[in-house]
């Protein structure tokens, strides 16, 4: 990966009051080296076979995730399973429209995941706003704020579409193209600026470790 030192020094965390700055880590995100080719390929294969979804239903689309766990669709057979904490999850499923309020939580949770991490965006709303195209409170495209690996269109997409999307994600990972984390770190300032443009009460550190 290129320009490792594009974001130098500790973050300013200006959104936090002075007294609270010591409570949060102020290190910027980094781009991480990939291992050698064979190892990385092996690892990517394992990563693709063990997709742990962050159990955070950000929008109405989350309801379409539930059938996946049932015996009819049974996502476990693909090595996909829900996980209750971002620390242990590798896939973040954005479940449809994201209001500004939710976006803040999305950013925070995304940043708290350990890399490599992948984002699957669900439904039209995440692509271009969908039916919330004129809402005063809903963002219109999620990839302005976090990197997205796979979009699944629909309003809402059916579980079958979700499964297809996950298969697509697996292909991407196996191909070594699931580099959203490094992408985020590389374009960190851009993402952060976009986030801060819509999230007006920024009361968290610039990067949530």
């Amino acid at each position: 990966m290129s320009d490792k030192h594009s974001i130098p020094g500790p973050l300013a965390n200006e959104g936090l009051p002075l007294a609270e700055r010591g409570l949060f880590c102020d290190a910027p995100p980094r781009q991480y080296q990939r291992a050698n080719k064979i190892t990385e390929a092996f690892w990517n294969w394992a990563r693709a076979q063990s997709l742990w979804i962050l159990g955070f239903g950000t929008g109405c689309g989350a309801i379409e995730l539930r059938p996946l766990m049932t015996s009819r669709f049974d996502m476990y057979r693909y090595g996909i399973q829900p996980r209750p904490t971002p620390r242990q999850s590798s896939v973040f499923v954005i479940g449809g429209y994201a209001s500004v309020k939710t976006l803040k939580r999305i950013v925070r949770s995304y940043e708290q995941m350990m890399g490599p991490k992948f984002v699957v965006a669900l439904g039209s709303c995440t692509i271009n706003g969908g039916m919330y195209w004129d809402s005063y409170n809903t963002i219109k495209r999620i990839d302005q704020y976090i990197p997205v690996d796979v979009y699944i269109a629909g309003c809402m997409p059916r579980p079958e579409a979700l499964l297809a999307g996950f298969q697509e994600l697996k292909r991407i990972i196996r191909a070594g193209r699931g580099e959203g984390q490094n992408e985020y770190a590389r374009k960190f300032e851009w993402y952060k600026a976009n986030q801060k443009q819509v999230i007006k009460d920024w009361n968290m550190p610039d990067y949530n470790w």
């Binding site: 880590c25 620390r87 949770s109 949530n208 470790w209």
Partner: protein, 1085 residues
């Protein structure tokens, strides 16, 4: 010898001259009073010297005639001592009343002279009617003195006194005239031999005489007037009444004693005992100092009366013995009470009302209004150390603690009564003493102002302290003399050998000597005192090392070593830390003394010393008033039980437990007495408060070391002195196995309850306190197994408990010092600020919970192995449950303090001071060494236990082998270490790009934490657990003891309702008392 008549003449002359001398100024007339007092004193001293040097008692006739033609005065040893006491007290009282006497009319001084003379006359005369005259002289003098400075309440009291006194004198007159009628003489010595007094009529006549004397001695319930007088009269006069007057009257009773028959003696004894009990019970409810002292006074006189009569009734011993015991009590009472009344006079002069003042010299109304009161009232002024020492000495003497004369007297009395199996009498006397100890020590506890808070001005007592100080010094001197030479030694060195003494055990005095020296040096800086104390402990240890056999060596490490550690820990704060170092040294050395004691008296002496000194240490804590009180009351209660047990036998070679008696109840009592100190369930209610409220280093000493003294007590109880030599603890004689099984269950219940209580504490020190209790429970359980494995487990557990509880208390002391709170939920995340303390606590809790590979597992292994091998299966299961519960509080302890979220206001916290860290490091090293090489500790223990019991445990290579299994501590350590290293290596290899984060970088359901307080899960940590098993422990013991306390208090409250304050009621009491006595005498006859 000087003829006492001259002194009477001089007194009278001085009294008549006073109005004339008074023209020269009141100062002159007072000088005259002092002069006469000094004359009496000098005469008494000269008589005493003459008599001690081999003189014989001498009679002095009046007007050149001897009896029966004239009144005879006799000067014997007792009389001389009595006059000495009266004169001395008189002088001190006069000094205390000086200011008042100067202002009042000259009659006051005259009355004082007459009182002095009257009392001396009471002591000296051998004529019954003359006795009446002197009684009346002193009574009238007292009446007028009570009212001399025109205190209105005193006037009222004087009037009541006159009613009672008047009736008594009428009784006496009737009695004396009929004695004359039937015995044909008024001379005492002739009357004793008079045949006419032997019959029924003579009995009746003597009864009147006796009744009058008894009424003057203030028996229950005919003593309301006396209490009012004590409360209202000038304290100096009260001292005179309580000290001198009571002594004189007791001597008069002593003189008349040969006149009386069995029925009279029964009356005296019964009345005395009733007074003792009732006085103390009612005293427990007093809120006015002097009224409380009055009740105590009345009770003490009752006890002395009872002892006099009982001695003759039950033939407790030679006359000298009786003299010694009763004399010990009287002397003790005389000096202590005089001192205390004079002290209260000093308080009054310093401007305190009787009811409040120095941190509330008033006494709280009930036992349990504890915390509120102590927290609310910050003391306005506090006593100077000297005043405190004097007050302490006086109260401790009064309560009968070592080294004061009362202690020795009580010991002798209980011994004598036990020899004659008068157990119920012992019960009554010790019960009453305990109640008295309760309220007197409560009073003393209130005098001690809490330390720490803003400095408060010292109360100036000035010259007023002189009298009390003299009394205290005299008490201490006499006490030490009695201790060294036996009780009578003070009076007659030749007789000393007949009574028990500490002559052969000088080491037992070490705590006192060192404490005295260090207290004198208390002005030195703290570090110097600490070093001195440490030096004293080290020197002591070095000097006595070859007196310690195997068992005692192990305990010496725990007790003396622990003491040394905590003395080092006391260096943690700068400044003088007044009183801390002497007390720490004293406690430590008293623990050493417990180990060294060779006789039962010595053991009990050391035990009481330990109880007393540790109480002082507890009381030094900030909010410790109530906990310290319950500590000392339970401590003394336990000590009394122990005393009864020891009185029956056991301990020293002189009296091993009577065969088969191990299960008999004296042994049981001694056992219970020791269990109190160990904090066994049901007897533990003092424990959490005392451990929690003492200074932090003191708590550690109490928990880590002092509790081991109780464990040692257990061992000492069943082993006779000198384990290696006389290991012939006749195991055959050990009572039925049920006893040990029951003891085992007590230990088990203690372990379980201690652990469960600890789970729900918020206060870190309370957690540790309950934990201590639980751990001692295991030790008791293992001890009760009574086999080699069990004892090995017990000793091993004891040593380990010493190790890790020391570590915990040291670390926690540092935490509390840095953080400034004891509530665990107010801490958190201190691991980064106090890493060494964390490490200490970590190792300690791993050891405590018994998780391998640290040394604690050895204890668990030994415990379960021995339990199962013995066949105590259910016990093993419950023990397993209890030690599982220990995980709960241990985890909570370390989590709430060191892990989790640091608090914002604790960002400046630093590592604990070196004085705390250094001992922790040392202990950690020892812990590690013992973990890797368990043999280091187990070898000596096995060596001891296999000498007592047939060995079942033994080492095979590095493995300890029991009949059931084996344990190789070294290999365990190696395997664990290897595996741990392997895992760590794996982690280090595979962990990439690790980013250290801060406390709020946690996943919080998409949110961020707002405050550490709301993020740190610590408050009511195990609430679900309480819901599930909280029913197992519902403070039943506390409720029981509150009930007992409440019951005693209620009885006292009911008794004192008799004293309505109406003089006529009091007069009625007197009349009824006499009537009842007469009926009782009829029944006995």
């Amino acid at each position: 010898m000087v003829n006492p008549l001259y002194l009477f003449a001089a007194s009278l002359a001085a009294a008549f001259l006073l109005p004339l001398v008074d023209k020269l100024g009141r100062r002159a007339s007072l000088a005259l009073v002092y002069l006469v007092g000094l004359a009496w004193l000098a005469a008494a001293v000269s008589w005493l010297l003459a008599l001690v040097q081999g003189g014989v008692a001498q009679d002095f006739g009046t007007a050149g005639f001897m009896a029966p033609l004239a009144i005879v005065l006799r000067v014997g040893l007792l009389e001389a001592a009595g006059v000495l006491a009266v004169a001395a007290v008189g002088l001190l009282s006069a000094a205390a009343m000086h200011a008042s006497l100067r202002q009042a009319p000259a009659g006051g001084a005259m009355a004082f002279l007459m009182l002095l003379m009257g009392l001396c006359g009471v002591i000296l005369t051998r004529d019954l009617f003359n006795l009446f005259v002197f009684l009346e002289i002193s009574a009238i003098a007292t009446y007028s003195l009570i009212g001399f400075d025109d205190r209105r309440p005193a006037l009222r009291s004087a009037f009541k006194y006159m009613l009672a006194g008047g009736i008594a004198s009428a009784l006496y007159l009737i009695g004396v005239i009929y004695v004359y009628r039937f015995g044909d003489t008024l001379n005492l010595d002739l009357a004793i031999r008079a045949p006419g007094l032997a019959g029924a009529a003579g009995n009746a006549a003597l009864f009147f005489l006796l009744a009058a004397l008894l009424v003057e001695l203030k028996p229950f319930p005919a003593n309301g007037w006396a209490l009012d007088v004590y409360q209202t009269a000038h304290p100096g006069l009260a001292a005179m009444l309580s000290g001198a007057s009571a002594t004189a009257l007791l001597l008069a009773l002593w003189k008349l004693l040969p006149l009386f028959g069995t029925a009279h003696l029964v009356i005296i004894a019964g009345s005395g005992l009733a007074t003792f009990l009732a006085g103390n019970l009612a005293g427990a409810r007093q809120r006015y100092t002097r009224r409380m002292l009055g009740y105590s006074s009345v009770a003490q006189i009752g006890l002395a009366m009872a002892v006099l009569a009982l001695g003759t009734l039950f033939k407790l011993g030679s006359e000298l013995f009786l003299l010694a015991v009763a004399g010990g009590f009287v002397l003790n009472h005389l000096l202590a009470k005089t001192g205390l009344f004079l002290l209260s006079a000093a308080f009054e002069q310093a401007g305190l009302t009787d009811a409040a003042g120095v941190d509330g010299v008033d006494v709280v109304d009930t036992v349990d209004d504890a915390a509120g009161a102590s927290a609310a009232a910050q003391p306005a002024r506090r006593l100077s150390p000297l005043a405190l020492a004097v007050a302490g000495g006086l109260v401790l003497a009064l309560v009968g603690l070592p080294p004061f004369p009362g202690f020795w007297a009580k010991w002798q009395l209980v011994q004598a009564l036990a020899d004659r199996s008068r157990w119920w009498l012992i019960g009554l006397i010790l019960g009453g003493s305990l109640v008295e100890a309760f309220y007197m020590l409560r009073w003393l506890g209130r005098l001690v102002a809490a330390r720490g808070a803003a400095p408060v001005p010292t109360l100036r007592l000035g010259a007023g302290l002189l009298g009390p100080a003299v009394a205290a010094v005299a008490l201490a001197g006499l006490g030490v003399l009695s201790g060294v030479f036996g009780l009578t030694g003070a009076l007659d060195p030749k007789a000393g050998s007949t009574l028990a003494s500490l002559a052969g055990e000088p080491w037992l005095w070490a705590p006192w000597a060192v404490a005295a020296v260090l207290f004198l040096l208390d002005w030195l800086p703290g570090w110097l005192k600490g070093l001195l104390a440490l030096g004293a402990v080290a020197a002591f240890a070095w000097l006595v090392q070859d007196r310690l056999d195997g068992l005692r060596q192990i305990f010496a490490i725990m007790l003396l070593g622990g003491g040394g550690l905590f003395i080092v820990a006391a260096l943690r704060k700068p400044g003088s830390r007044g009183g801390l170092h002497p007390l720490l040294a004293m406690v430590t050395l008293s623990l050493g003394a417990v180990l060294l004691a060779e006789t039962r008296l010595g053991f009990f002496f050391a035990w009481e010393t330990m109880t007393l000194s540790s109480w002082l240490l507890v009381r030094r804590g900030q909010a410790s008033r109530q906990p310290a009180l319950s500590y000392i009351v339970f401590g003394l209660g336990g000590a009394f039980l122990l005393m009864v047990g020891l009185a029956a036998g056991g301990f020293d070679s002189a009296g091993a437990w009577p065969s088969g008696a191990l299960a008999s109840w004296p042994f049981l009592l001694a056992l219970v007495g020791i269990l109190v100190k160990a904090g066994a369930l049901g007897l533990h209610v003092w424990l959490p408060g005392a451990y929690a409220e003492a200074d932090d280093e003191s708590s550690g000493l109490l928990s880590a070391s002092l509790s081991k003294a109780a464990v040692f007590g257990l061992f000492a109880l069943v082993l006779s002195r000198g384990i290696p030599g006389s290991l012939s603890i006749s195991l055959g004689a050990i009572g039925g196995p049920w006893l040990w099984r029951a003891l085992g269950w007590v230990g088990l219940a203690t372990a379980l309850a201690g652990a469960l209580y600890a789970v729900w504490q918020e206060d870190i020190k309370k957690t540790l306190a309950w934990s201590s209790m639980g751990q001692i429970g295991y030790i008791i359980l293992a001890f009760a197994l009574m086999d080699q494995a069990g004892w090995t487990a017990s000793l091993y557990l004891a040593f380990n408990h010493f190790l890790y509880k020391s570590m915990l208390f040291l670390a926690v002391a540092g935490v509390i010092q840095r953080v400034g709170t004891r509530n665990m939920y107010e801490m958190g995340g201190l691991i980064k600020k106090m890493p060494v303390s964390f490490l200490t606590v970590l190792m300690a809790i791993i050891a405590l919970s018994g998780v391998p590979p640290l040394t604690g597992f050895g204890g668990k292994w030994l415990l379960y192995s021995s339990l199962i091998a013995k066949g105590w299966y259910l016990e093993a299961a419950v023990a397993f449950f209890a030690s599982g519960v220990a995980f709960l509080y241990l985890y909570r302890l370390i989590h709430s303090i060191f892990l989790g979220q640091p608090k914002l206001n604790q960002s400046g916290v630093r590592e604990a001071p070196l004085a705390l860290i250094a001992p922790q490091l040392l202990l950690m090293g020892v812990l590690m060494a013992l973990s890797v090489f368990p043999k280091l500790l187990l070898d000596p223990i096995l060596e001891i236990t296999s000498r007592v019991f047939p060995p079942t445990l033994g080492f095979s290579g590095d493995a300890l082998v029991s009949p059931l299994g084996y344990w190789n501590g070294t290999l365990t350590m190696i395997v664990t270490g290897g595996v741990f290293a392997l895992c760590l290596l794996w982690l280090v290899i595979n962990l990439r790009n690790s980013q250290g984060v801060r406390q709020f970088n946690i996943v919080f359901a998409g949110e961020r934490p707002l405050r550490p307080e709301t993020t740190h899960y610590a408050w009511r940590f195990f609430e679900p657990y309480r819901q599930a098993v909280g029913g197992l422990v519902r403070s039943r013991a506390e409720r029981f003891w509150v009930l007992v306390g409440g019951g005693v208090s209620a009885v006292g409250g009911a008794l004192r309702r008799l004293y309505t304050g109406n003089g006529q009621t009091y007069a009625l009491h007197v009349v009824m008392y006499v009537v009842v006595l007469y009926l009782v005498m009829g029944v006995v006859l």
